[in-house]
Symmetry: none
Subunit: 219 residues, 4 copies
DNA sequence: AATGAATGAGTTTTCATTCAT
DNA sequence: TATGAATGAAAACTCATTCAT
C-alpha cells in the first residue's frame, strides 16, 4: 500500500517527472528521529518541517495529516524491523538460537526509539483505517516471532505453550527492560538476560541447552 | 472566636460552608475511570467535570491543573496497587508462591486500566517535580516485587540473577499480555501463563516445584 | 445615599440589632488600601476578603458586586477629600492663599493613592448609575476648587479666565507631578512648584504677590 | 537555491506565500482605535480580530500576546507623537513659541485617544521588560518637551525652574483638560488656554510676550 | 448573620491545516 | 511543485458571584 521506502536500484519507468525524488523518504527519516524522541503530542508539525528542511505545504503534500505521517513513520519502522527479523530468522540455525537473534535485533532497534508507538493503541473505540492497518503491521511483526516459536515447539526446543501469549511476553519483557534500563545497562547484557529468562521459562531441556551453550552471555 | 471547649481539639470548628465530604475522592475516582480509558491528551477537563458532576471551578479548586490531576490519579492508583501487593506479600508463604500473588493482583489491577501511565513514560528530559515523584512511587512499587525476588533468591527458590532486571521483565510481561490480550483471554489463564514462564525462567528446581504444585490460585 | 462613614457620636436608635457595627467601614478601609495600590483588574475579591479579615459572603452582603465596592471606595475617598478641601477653604484667608491649601491637601491625599480612579472614566458608552453618581461626586469636588477660583477672580486675585478649565488644569498638574514624581521628590516642594506655576499663570499681580509672600516656596 | 543574481541584494527572493503587505500595520491601526476607545481589560482579542478582519492565528503570529500587542500599540503611538513633536520643535522659532506647537500637537494627538495609556500607569512594581521599555519611550517624549523648556530658560524666555517638573505639569494640564472637556470645547481654545496659563506661570516677561503676541496658531 | 466551598460563563492562546504566490 | 503566511476550532484556566451550613 505504501511505496517502497528505499530507492529501488532501477527506477521504475516514470511518467511525468516525479516531484523531487527521495523527498518522501527524507521527510520520513526526519520525522522518525523526531517521533522516536518525543511523544506524538509533543511533536509539532513545525518541528517536523524544520527537521526535514522542507516547506509545510510540501509536508502536507506527501502526508495529508499529522496522524498519517505518524503512522507512516511507525509503519515504516516496524516494517524495517520485521524485515530485519525475517532475515535473522531465515537461516538454518536451530529455532532456539533464532530467539536469541530476535531479541538482539529487536532490543537494538528500540534502543534509541524509546518513545516509539506512544500514540498507538489509544482510544480503542475509534476504529479508523489506521488502527486496522497498524494491527496488520504489528501482526506481521509478531508473527515472525510466533512462527519461530512454533518451529521451536515442533523441534522440541520449546514446550507446548500458547505461542501467541509467549510472543507478547517476550515483547513485553524487552519493552520493560528497555524502558527502565539505567545508563549503565549494556545492550548485550540485557539481551542475554532476556533470552536467559525467556528460554528458561519456555524452553525444553534441549532448547535451553542449545541457547546456553552457544553464546556465553557476557553480563 | 476561640473554639468551644466542649469540642475535641482536632475537628476544629470550621466556619462557613463545610467542604462536601469525599468530594476530592469522588473527583479522583471519576478522573481515574476517564484516564484509564483514554489517553491524557484525549481527555478534556470538561469530560472530567461532567464525569464527576462537579463544577469546573471546583475541579480546579482541588487540582490546580490538568497535569496535577493526572498525576494525582496515577499516584493514587499506583499507591493502591503497591499497598495491595504489600498485603499480598506480607505472609508466611514461600517466596515463590508470593510471585504468583503479585502477578495475580497486578494483572487484575491493570485489567481495566490498560491505558494507565500512558503519559508518564514520556519526555523524561523534563525533570519536573512530578517526574521525580513518579519515580518514587514507581520505585516503591517495583521494590515490593524486587524484595520478594530477593527473598526468593535467599531461600534458594530463584536463581542468582539480577532482580532489578528480573522485576522489569516481570512487569513488562504482564503489560504485554494485558495490552494485547484478546477478548477470549481470561485473567487466571494469563496469570498462570506469566507465572509459569517467569518462574520457569528465573526459578530454581525448588522454586519451580513450589509454584507448580499449588497451581490453582483464585482471587 | 450612602450611610455616614464615620460613626456618629450618638448612635441613632437602632431597631433590630445592627449586624456587627462598623463592619462596613472596616471593609471599606481595607478595600481602599488595596484599590489605592493596585489597579481595579488586578485586585481580586479574595484579596479584599483577606485584607479585611472577613468572609466572602459577608463582603457580598455589604457590597453586592465588585464594581459597587470599588465605587463605594472611590466615592468615600473623594468625599473625604472634598470635606477636607471645604474645611481648608472655609476660612477668611484671601482666595489666592486658599489655592495653596487646596493643592497641599489634594496632593497629600493622592500621595499614597496613585492608582485611585484608574477604573473611572472608562468605556464612555456605559452610562450606568455608577457613572452618573461618580460625576456628581467628582463635580462636588471640583466645584470647591472652582468656587475658590471664582472668588479669587471676584477679588481681583485671578484673571478673568474660564475657571472650569482652570480647575481641570490644576487637577491635571497635580496628577502629573504625582504620577511621575521621583523618589526624591518631597511633597512640599511639589506643592510649592504647582502653586507657583499655576498662580503665576492664572493670577493677577495681586494674586501672585499674595501667594508669593506668604509661603517662601522651597524648590 | 541561492538567490538569482539579477535580483538586487536586498529584496531576497522570498519563497512561498509572501506576507500580506502592510498587514502588521493594519493590525496595529485597528488595535489602536480599539485601545484608544476602551480600557485594556475591556478589549478582547476577538474584537481586535474582528476590527482588522484577520484570523486570530494571524494576530498572534504578529503579536505573541495581548500584552505585547497593547504595548506595541502604545509604543507606536507615543513614538509617532514624539516624532511629530521633534518636527514641530526643530525650527528656528523662539523656544517660547515652540511650546505652543507642542501643546497643539499633543492635544490634537490625544483628542481621539482619551483612553490611551490607561494600562500603562499601573503596577509599577512589576518590572517587566515592557515596563522598562515604556519608560524609555515615555522618557524620549518628555525629553523633547523638557529640552525645549531648557532652551527657553537659556534664552531667558522661561524662568529658572525645574524643567522636569514643569514638563510633567504641562503634560498633566493637557491630560486634565482633555479628559474632562465638554462637547463644546474646541481644540484651539483649549490649546490657547493651556499655553496661556502654563507660559504665564513659567515664562519670563519676554517669554510671555512672545507667546502672547502671536496668539492665533492654527494647525 | 457570617463563612468559605462550589460554580460556570468568559478569555487567552495553540497548532493542525489551508491557501495565495 | 514548493513554500510559508493565514486561519479558526478547540482547550485550559480564572474569578466574580452564589449557596449550603
Amino acid at each position: 500500500m505504501s511505496p517502497p521506502l528505499s530507492q529501488p536500484a532501477f527506477p521504475r519507468p516514470r511518467r511525468g517527472r516525479p516531484p523531487t525524488p527521495g523527498l518522501r523518504d527524507r521527510i520520513l527519516r526526519a520525522a522518525e528521529t523526531i517521533f522516536a524522541r518525543r511523544d506524538y503530542h509533543e511533536v509539532q508539525m513545525d518541528d517536523v518541517v524544520e527537521a526535514c528542511g522542507v516547506g509545510k505545504g510540501t509536508l502536507y503534500r506527501y502526508f495529508p495529516s499529522k496522524q498519517r505521517l505518524y503512522f507512516a513513520v511507525m509503519f515504516d519502522g516496524i516494517q524495517r524491523l520485521r524485515v530485519e527479523l525475517e532475515a535473522a530468522v531465515g537461516t538454518e540455525e536451530p529455532p532456539a538460537q533464532k530467539v536469541h537473534r530476535i531479541v538482539h535485533r529487536t532490543l537494538a532497534f528500540f534502543w534509541d526509539r524509546r518513545f516509539f508507538f506512544s500514540l498507538i493503541h489509544r482510544s480503542e473505540h475509534k476504529s479508523t483505517g489506521e488502527a486496522r492497518e497498524w494491527l496488520r503491521y504489528r501482526g506481521a511483526l509478531s508473527r515472525v516471532i510466533r512462527e519461530t516459536l512454533d518451529a521451536a515447539v515442533a523441534a522440541g526446543q520449546v514446550r507446548r505453550i500458547d505461542t501467541r501469549i509467549a510472543t507478547e511476553m517476550l515483547l513485553g519483557m524487552m519493552r520493560g527492560v528497555n524502558r527502565y534500563r539505567t545508563d549503565d545497562d549494556r545492550l548485550d547484557a540485557l539481551v542475554a538476560a532476556v533470552v536467559d529468562v525467556f528460554m528458561g521459562g519456555v524452553g525444553t531441556q534441549t532448547g535451553r541447552r542449545i541457547v546456553a551453550e552457544r553464546r556465553p552471555v557476557r553480563a
